[in-house]
């Protein structure tokens, strides 16, 4: 209990003093996870919409694949990406290993299925009659898609929240492909592992609290956005 309290005090101190390495670590965490989330939304939302609207041969396989992807163990993704980017690996020439790029890559792989899967579910939950109605009113396919997306916006937002939550708190893959290098690839979660190993439990808890605060703030903002959506209905 004592450690948690001291960690709380330490967290406040770090935030108030705008500790330089803390700012760096938080900045990189947000950059890496933010970029990965952006890529996942860019690719995952259209994919989810497509899977939710179309019926095609092999759809079940595609959906099962997405669902499996939603539970991918980060360490396994990290390991596979590590082997791909390794000097002897097929993508070794890129020189991405132990850089933020490799971390964005693994986190995109981790959040993409979540964003696509939840978007698909959200689109599925829109009453099917709506599509027919829109078509009979002469809407173009693009208009139909956009209307569906608008109707399903709360669910799509939940997809984004789920994707963000999964990667900002993830440690397994970024540790493996990033290497936790100070000032280069150290993010909040890997810093927590390091401080725990060093026996600096106060600092580890402090970083943990900051991570929680960050996730909470992000979710709060998204929820706020969702609330605004609801009220404009």
């Amino acid at each position: 209990m004592d450690t948690i309290f001291r960690g709380f005090v330490e967290a406040l101190r770090l935030i108030v003093e705008l500790d330089r390495s803390l700012v760096e670590i938080v900045g990189l965490s947000l950059q890496v996870s933010g970029l990965a989330l952006g890529l996942s939304v860019l690719l995952g939302v259209p994919l989810g919409v497509w899977l939710g609207m179309r019926r095609f041969r092999g759809q079940r396989l595609a959906v099962a694949t997405i669902y499996t992807g939603m539970g991918l163990p980060p360490v396994v993704v990290g390991l596979v990406v590590y082997l791909l980017l390794s000097r002897q690996g097929p993508l070794g020439q890129l020189g991405w290993l132990f850089t933020p790029r490799a971390m964005v890559l693994t986190q995109t792989i981790l959040s993409l299925p979540l964003v696509a899967g939840f978007t698909m579910t959200a689109i599925n939950s829109v009453p099917p009659g709506l599509i027919l109605q829109l078509r009979s009113l002469g809407a173009t396919p693009t208009q139909v898609t956009l209307t569906l997306l608008y109707e399903a916006r709360a669910g799509v937002l939940a997809a984004v929240v789920a994707g963000f939550g999964a990667i900002i708190s993830e440690v397994g893959s970024v540790m493996i492909v990033g290497g936790n290098i100070a000032g280069k690839t150290r993010v909040l979660t890997t810093a927590i592992v390091l401080e725990t190993r060093k026996g600096n439990f106060d600092l580890a808890i402090a970083l943990g609290l900051i991570l929680l605060g960050l996730t909470f703030t992000a979710n709060w903002m998204l929820l706020h956005l969702q609330g605004r959506f609801e009220s404009t209905r």
Binding site: G179, N180, A182, A191, L194, R197, K198
Partner: protein
């Protein structure tokens, strides 16, 4: 004669539905709850219960990753368990965390390598005494091309100076481990504060740091045993500097002082100290690695110092 049993209103399980085909969703839910409840009551099978530090026939040993990763503990601990009937639970962490575990009363005995901090640990009253056990040595490893040109140098500090001058990539443990403390000491001796793009502070274990050095063809400081074990698995790095006395690495064993707050298994800790410093165990330590790696990895040097009876 297959007929559907309607779900009983009370939710009671009437035995019949086990034998007939259709199970309502409600039955399934109830059944899974029951199974879950039963499973929760049963003692776990094959799952190790986290034992309190003080269980009489169990000893918690906090040690550095090097003794564990090198395979030494797997080699010698069965002898201790056979002789005393005490089971050893090994927690392999950095020296910093091992000492913290001792302070928190979460470990009974420590086997670590950071002499000054061990002595401070004793001075602060967390351990009644510290005893030499053995030493191994560190080596400076790097790529075969050796861009900084340190191969064969006899002074570790001079080699570090060259690496810094050449701005050749160096991966540091950066994790408060005994290896990291040693590295800092050598930088200090070289009169250099390492910083810049060429110096990567990884904050990870020896195995991970060796991987990173290998991938980036960088230099690093490693204990010989972990390096040899990993080299056999295909590390593309070589020993470039060795033999400087500053590279020797003394291991000490410390029984944690018992107190009222924590249930320290002091008796077992003393038995462990006596065992690891005994002539037979010292011989066992000396024999480790010769068969597997072709060279002795740890050099025992306990001076028959027994912790007591």
């Amino acid at each position: 004669m297959k007929h559907r049993i309607p779900p009983t209103r009370s939710g009671r399980l009437d035995g019949a539905f086990f034998f007939h085909g259709a199970m309502s969703l409600r039955h399934i839910v109830i059944l899974s709850f029951l199974l879950f409840a039963v499973a929760a009551c049963l003692p776990p099978v094959g799952v190790e219960q986290p034992p309190a530090a003080g269980t009489r026939d169990e000893l918690v040993l906090a040690t550095t990753t090097s003794t564990y990763d090198s395979g030494l503990l797997d080699y010698i601990l069965p002898d201790f368990e056979r002789k005393t009937g005490i089971r050893v639970r090994v927690i392999a962490v950095g020296t910093g965390q091992a000492l913290a575990l001792g302070k928190a009363g979460d470990a009974d005995v420590l086997l670590v390598h950071a002499r000054e901090r061990e002595e401070q640990f004793v001075a602060e009253g967390y351990a009644p005494s510290r005893h030499d056990v053995m030493y191994n040595d560190f080596v400076i490893v790097g790529p075969a091309e050796d861009p900084a040109g340190i191969r064969g140098m006899t002074s570790a500090a001079e080699a570090f100076k060259r690496i810094a001058q050449a701005q050749a990539l160096f991966v540091s443990r950066g994790d408060d481990s005994g290896t990291y403390i040693k590295e800092q000491k050598i930088w200090q001796e070289a009169g250099i504060t390492p910083q810049g793009d060429w110096y990567e502070s990884a904050g990870q274990g020896m195995g991970a740091v060796l991987n990173m050095a290998n991938e980036q063809q960088a230099y690093t400081l490693s204990d010989r045993s972990t390096f040899l074990a990993r080299q056999r698995e295909g590390l593309d790095l070589e020993i470039l500097v060795e033999g400087d006395p500053v590279l020797f690495n003394q291991y000490g064993v410390l029984p944690v002082t018992p107190d009222k707050e924590h249930d320290i298994n002091y008796g077992a800790a003393i038995a462990f100290v006596n065992w690891i410093t005994s002539p037979e165990t010292q011989e066992l330590i000396a024999s480790y690695g010769i068969e597997q790696f072709g060279s002795q990895l740890f050099f025992p040097n306990a001076r028959g110092n027994q912790a007591g009876d």
